[in-house]
Amino acid sequence: MPELPPDVTLDEVKERARLAGLPIPLERLSLVRGFLSNALKPIRALDSRAVRTVEPAVIFHAEVDAKGGAESGS
């Protein structure tokens, strides 16, 4: 699989919008490209093998759960 370029291109934004079924006006495409590029830059620079997986989605607390309550980590 080819590596992704660090920046998101306008064509890529158009293609993503088409796939998502979101009608983004032409005059706003470059603005949206800016949002995506900035946010994705660290992710595209990431070696996904070098980062740990996300913490467990479910955390049980014996005391709380025994009473039927729920508590998420903070």
């Binding site: 949002f35 995506l36 992710i43 980062v51």
Partner: protein, 463 residues
């Protein structure tokens, strides 16, 4: 004390005046309502003024004071960001979509502060859904910065920042997903505390991005933030992220000073693109902490350069929250906000997951740094408040954020004024602490404010 000085009084001072019968909550609320009527025509901080409610609350406060069972917040005026649900009072989120929404219950924060005896003056404008900017023609006009009306007050808690700076309320609540408490605090020269994630309930507050959203107090001093946090903090089963951590006494050691405290200055990432005046004011503030007895040293957080990836999380979650309305009633969203939210629908699932993995790494690195120091200090914003003409350009991009990293990490962070630009606009730094250690953060902030007077400067507005 002149009427102009009285409208800038702090919670401790007002409480003393109330208890000694030198001032009554009804007279005080009446004075502030009059001031709002005069000044807010220009500032647009309030969406709704609840004058009758304010006077009823103030009368109840006078009864409590007469009974001798008043608390520290009894009779203190407050106005809520219009993102907080208020029973029987419209809650617009600054949007056309919710322009006529009248909730049938108070959100938890409002219920707690009203129970503590605060006097509700009204609801304060927020940037649309805590994320957009009110472009010309929007249903609600934008709040303006009391220090210079041509400049924004920051956002999204824009009305809260403007109202506090102009002496139109004593306390306020903001919400902070990427800096929306601290940004207006920085641009308006006031104090804003984003507590630890889970410390203050978000139940009944309109969502932007639920893994980054925080609620918290805004006021004119660290001490006033401490008073309000004391009433706000504590577990709420209605907020799934609410923590069961015991609530500290935020006022007990507020006067404890900073002698021997270890302060870390995060030099990497947080100084990139920061304007020289902001850096100079920051260095003077840090120097002051050193003179007060703190040990100051530079620290690094290696993964902090990945912080901008938090926008993937924010945008994706915001899109998930708004998707149905965006697809069915897009015309009810303001220009640019609509496309900002739609941008969140363009990320792939793996990109959201990678952003959360980076978030974990940033959290771990920051926690490790906070083993060696007690608090971190950084500039809050890159510079002073920009003018409207700049931010109302539809192509105005997201600026690099010094505040977002503390939404990513969930750490308690307090923004305080550090001086002024040559153009007369406030500058600010932020103090961040360990999870649930708001007490230390507030103590550092209070010590700094006892030694400086930036928070006592007033903007050029006169009633």
């Amino acid at each position: 004390m002149s009427a102009d000085e009285l409208c800038y009084a702090g919670i401790r001072e007002l409480g003393g005046l109330f208890r000694r019968r030198e001032l009554g909550p009804v007279d005080y609320a009446t004075d502030l309502l009059r001031r709002i009527e005069t000044l807010d025509k220009t500032l647009n901080a309030y969406v709704t003024v609840t004058a009758e409610r304010a006077l009823a609350d103030a009368r109840a406060a006078e009864t409590a004071l007469a009974r001798g069972d008043a608390g520290p917040l009894t009779g203190i005026p407050i106005a809520y960001k219009d993102l907080y649900a208020t029973r029987g009072i419209r809650t617009t989120a600054g949007s056309a979509l919710l322009a006529d929404w009248v909730p049938d219950a108070d959100c938890t924060c409002v219920a707690r502060l009203q129970r503590a005896g605060m006097v509700m003056l009204g609801k304060l404008i927020t940037h649309e859904f805590a994320f957009g900017i009110q472009f010309p023609g929007h249903r609600f006009p934008p709040a303006r910065n009391p220090w210079n009306l041509d400049h924004i007050p920051g956002g999204s808690s824009s009305g809260s920042g403007a109202a506090l700076a102009a002496g139109l309320t004593v306390g306020s609540l903001g919400s902070d997903t990427g800096g929306s408490i601290r940004g207006p605090a920085a641009f308006c020269g006031i104090a804003g505390l984003k507590p630890t994630y889970g410390r203050v309930s978000r139940a009944g507050v309109v969502t932007l991005s639920w893994t980054l959203d925080h609620t918290g107090p805004m006021a004119r001093s660290a001490e006033d933030c401490a008073f309000m946090l004391q009433a706000l903090a504590g577990h709420d089963p209605a907020d799934p992220a609410s923590a069961r951590q015991p609530v500290a006494d935020y006022l007990a050691n507020l006067e404890g000073g900073v002698k021997g405290l270890r302060v870390g200055v995060v030099r990497d990432y947080f100084f990139e693109q920061v304007e020289p005046e902001t850096v100079a004011a920051f260095e003077r503030a840090v120097g002051e902490l050193g003179r007060l007895g703190a040990t100051v040293r530079d620290v690094t957080i290696p993964s902090m350069h990945a912080a901008p990836s938090f926008m993937v999380i924010l945008l994706a979650e915001a899109f998930a929250y708004h998707e149905r309305d965006l697809r069915e009633r897009p015309e009810l969203y303001g220009p640019v906000l609509r496309e900002k939210l739609m941008a969140g629908g363009l990320f792939r699932a793996d990109e959201y997951v990678q952003a959360q993995r980076l978030r974990s790494q940033i959290r771990e690195d920051t926690a490790r740094t906070l083993q060696a120091v007690d608090v971190l200090v950084t500039p809050t914003a890159l510079g002073p408040a920009p003018p409207f003409r700049v931010v109302l350009d539809p192509d105005f991009p997201f600026a690099k954020s010094n505040m977002g990293p503390f939404n990513v990490t969930g750490l308690p962070t307090l923004a305080l004024p550090t001086g002024f630009s040559t153009t007369g606009l406030p500058l600010s730094f932020q103090i961040s602490g360990r999870p649930f250690d708001e007490a230390t953060v507030l103590r550092v902030g209070h010590a700094y404010q006892r030694a400086t007077d930036w928070h006592r400067r007033r903007p050029p507005v006169r009633a």
